[in-house]
């Protein structure tokens, strides 16, 4: 009885939700993604072929991992502008270690540690120095790419390793290993954000830092932690990047920076902090990748692609208008 009533209540709640524009807004990225998929599939049937899906998923993996890191930072009302250069530095550190014969596991570790250290530096300067996130990470953006250039002496290192090659080409059915890793990262991040004390404290820090402090939460520690997480994930991204292109390069990777933030915001996470999901940015990243993939498949001219990307981003964001 009681159960039946509950279920009926649930059903009602759902149908009310579906009528509520706010509900659609929370899922703007998903709605956008579905619309895109339908449009592209109608225009070019290879879009939803297994092969194309597989390559989209692999292409999305690095962006998803960076977007997850960025989500943690943005949920505390910060922003990590250095995320792409940190990845570059991690890749170069990894490449140099590998070239120096450290072996794969140690080199991977070094790459992740190097990136994590940049994250720690960001966090410590922001939290202890009480400087705006924007300017600190802008500084480390520059510093990390400088370090990467110095370490690599400006030259790419080609890395041919069967394990890495397997990582970038093998997988479970259409799910490449790197996508599988990204999914695992997202799952862990989701649990951290919504099912641990750390996650609650993080959202409190982002939403109302003074209230959080008054309740005894160390907002400094939280800040340091989120930047460390972001740096570490950039390091993981670095390894996937090296695996993907088979080389460690001191290139700027600027597109990853703006795309990681775009994925987070498209995913419905407020830049003012205090709110956030992991699934949103996940789908946001997929949306951005699917968009470029679809436009390329359709043979849209290179000059028209930026215009199309811009319009789709604004349209998807229009959906979030009805949020809250």
């Amino acid at each position: 009885m009681a159960n039946a009533t509950l279920a009926a209540g649930d059903r009602e709640a759902w149908s009310a939700r579906l009528k509520d524009l706010g509900f659609w807004a929370e899922w703007a990225a998903l709605v956008g993604l579905v619309v895109l998929v339908i449009v592209f599939q109608a225009l070019n049937p290879t879009f939803l072929s297994a092969g194309n899906i597989a390559s989209m998923l692999v292409a999305a993996a690095i962006l998803i991992i960076l977007a997850v890191g960025q989500t943690f930072v943005i949920a505390t009302a910060g922003i990590d502008l250095s995320i792409a250069s940190t990845m570059t530095l991690g890749a170069v550190a990894f490449g140099q270690a590998y070239a120096a014969g450290w072996g794969l596991p140690l080199s991977c570790l070094l790459g992740i540690v190097a990136s994590a250290l940049v994250g720690v530096a960001n966090g410590v300067i922001i939290a202890r120095g009480k400087i705006t996130d924007f300017i600190v990470t802008l500084g480390t953006l520059s510093a990390a790419s400088g370090l990467a250039l110095i370490l690599a002496d400006g030259k790419p290192v080609t890395i041919i390793d069967p394990v890495l090659l397997g990582l970038s080409t093998g997988g479970l059915g259409i799910f490449g290993w790197s996508f599988v890793i990204a999914v695992v990262v997202a799952l862990v991040a989701h649990v951290m954000l919504f099912h641990t004390r750390f996650g609650t404290h993080l959202l409190a820090t982002g939403g109302a830092p003074e209230s959080a402090t008054a309740m005894g939460i160390s907002t400094e520690r939280i800040k340091i932690a989120v930047y460390t997480i972001s740096g570490t994930l950039a390091g993981l991204g670095a390894i996937l990047l090296v695996a993907r292109i088979g080389a460690a390069e001191p290139a700027a990777n600027t597109s990853f920076l703006l795309n990681s933030v775009a994925a987070v915001v498209l995913g419905g996470v407020s830049l003012f902090g205090g709110r956030g999901t992991i699934i949103g940015p996940f789908i946001g990243a997929m949306l951005l990748v699917a968009l470029v993939n679809g436009l390329t498949l359709l043979g849209v001219s290179q000059f028209y692609q930026p215009l199309a990307v811009g319009i789709v981003v604004v349209l998807a964001a229009l959906l979030t208008r009805f949020q809250r």
Partner: protein, 329 residues
């Protein structure tokens, strides 16, 4: 030495021992495009090596990136106020350095233009006097790649082009040349911009192959992206079926050509360009008249000559014309 193409500036006789420095010992400042790319690093190496060999001092500055037009202008202006007698410049665009160059010409400093040419009309209107131009013709490099592609694919088919940043001049010239160079059997079905990034080139090439299953070849505007495209081809199991030719001749690319993952690269020799740039300064300082337009060597590297190319990199393996060598002897 100089046959084809309109020179950017007339071969002016520069007064020996321009401002500062003892006669025959120029103080050189070089402004090049960007050091995050091996191409320009090789150029810097050429400059440094010749400077060391000739016992002259040289300061090399580069733009932040290959698109940083105003940043490069700022750097030239920063150096222009100082006591150098000879400036070697590799402008990002035809006109972005005009302002600084006009100032240098007013001060009667020697200006050696390398790699990318200064726009002749702009130079004329701003009274910029260039001592000489040393460089490679990117259109010509594209043509060589096009001809090679036609050789590799005698039966023709669809090919795609992966360019640098949309709207980039160098990329545009190479692509234009490629289109002129290919025979009537080959058809360019798609052109994609991959921002000079290997990762983006990989993704783009994967998508392009998906959209055009009958694709038989890629022309890629530089080696770094070329290696990404080669990777994409390997990933989709089409090694050998889809040909890739890129431009630059970096060490990694040469090795890839040797290994067969890359089907060819049009090697431009930035090392030689930088090297000759310094020689030109030395010659000018010695009071010699410089040839107005010097062509740097370009070679098509294929599996056959890859070993040779690798052995001598970053220098060209074949003999090439260096008119300045005689002048400073």
């Amino acid at each position: 030495a100089c046959a084809s193409g309109e020179p950017a500036g007339p071969g002016v006789r520069v007064e020996a021992a321009a401002a500062g420095g003892p006669a025959g010992q120029p103080r050189i400042a070089a402004v090049i495009k960007g050091l995050d790319n091996p191409f320009f690093q090789a150029m810097k190496q050429g400059i440094d090596d010749q400077a060391r060999a000739g016992g002259v001092t040289v300061t090399v500055q580069a733009a932040n990136s290959i698109t940083d037009t105003t940043g490069q202008a700022d750097k030239l202006n920063g150096l222009a106020g100082q006591d150098f007698s000879c400036y070697v410049v590799n402008p990002i665009s035809g006109t972005n350095l005009i302002q600084g160059l006009a100032r240098l010409s007013m001060l009667n400093k020697t200006v050696v233009n390398i790699d990318s040419p200064v726009d002749p009309a702009a130079a004329k209107s701003a009274n910029v006097k260039l001592a000489t131009y040393i460089g490679t013709d990117n259109v010509e490099a594209g043509k060589m790649a096009g001809r090679r592609m036609t050789e590799l694919l005698p039966s023709g088919g669809d090919v795609a082009v992966i360019g640098g940043i949309a709207g980039d001049v160098t990329s545009g010239a190479r692509v234009q040349g490629f289109q002129q160079g290919i025979g009537p059997n080959l058809k360019v079905v798609q052109t994609v911009a991959a921002n000079w990034e290997r990762q983006m080139a990989l993704t783009a090439a994967t998508d392009v192959m998906r959209a055009n299953p009958n694709l038989v070849g890629f022309f890629v505007a530089n080696d770094d992206m070329g290696l990404g495209v080669a990777r994409a081809i390997a990933n989709s199991g089409k090694t050998g079926k889809v040909k890739v030719i890129s431009v630059d001749g970096n060490k990694d690319a040469l090795e890839a050509v040797k290994a067969g993952t890359l089907d060819g690269t049009v090697s431009q020799y930035p090392y030689a360009i930088g090297h000759m740039g310094v020689e030109a300064c030395q010659a000018a300082a010695a009071g010699k008249t410089l040839p107005p337009n010097v062509k740097a060597p370009v070679e098509m590297i294929t599996k056959d000559n890859a070993d040779q190319a690798l052995a001598s990199t970053p220098k060209p393996f074949g003999a090439y014309d260096d008119p300045f060598k005689a002048l400073i002897q």
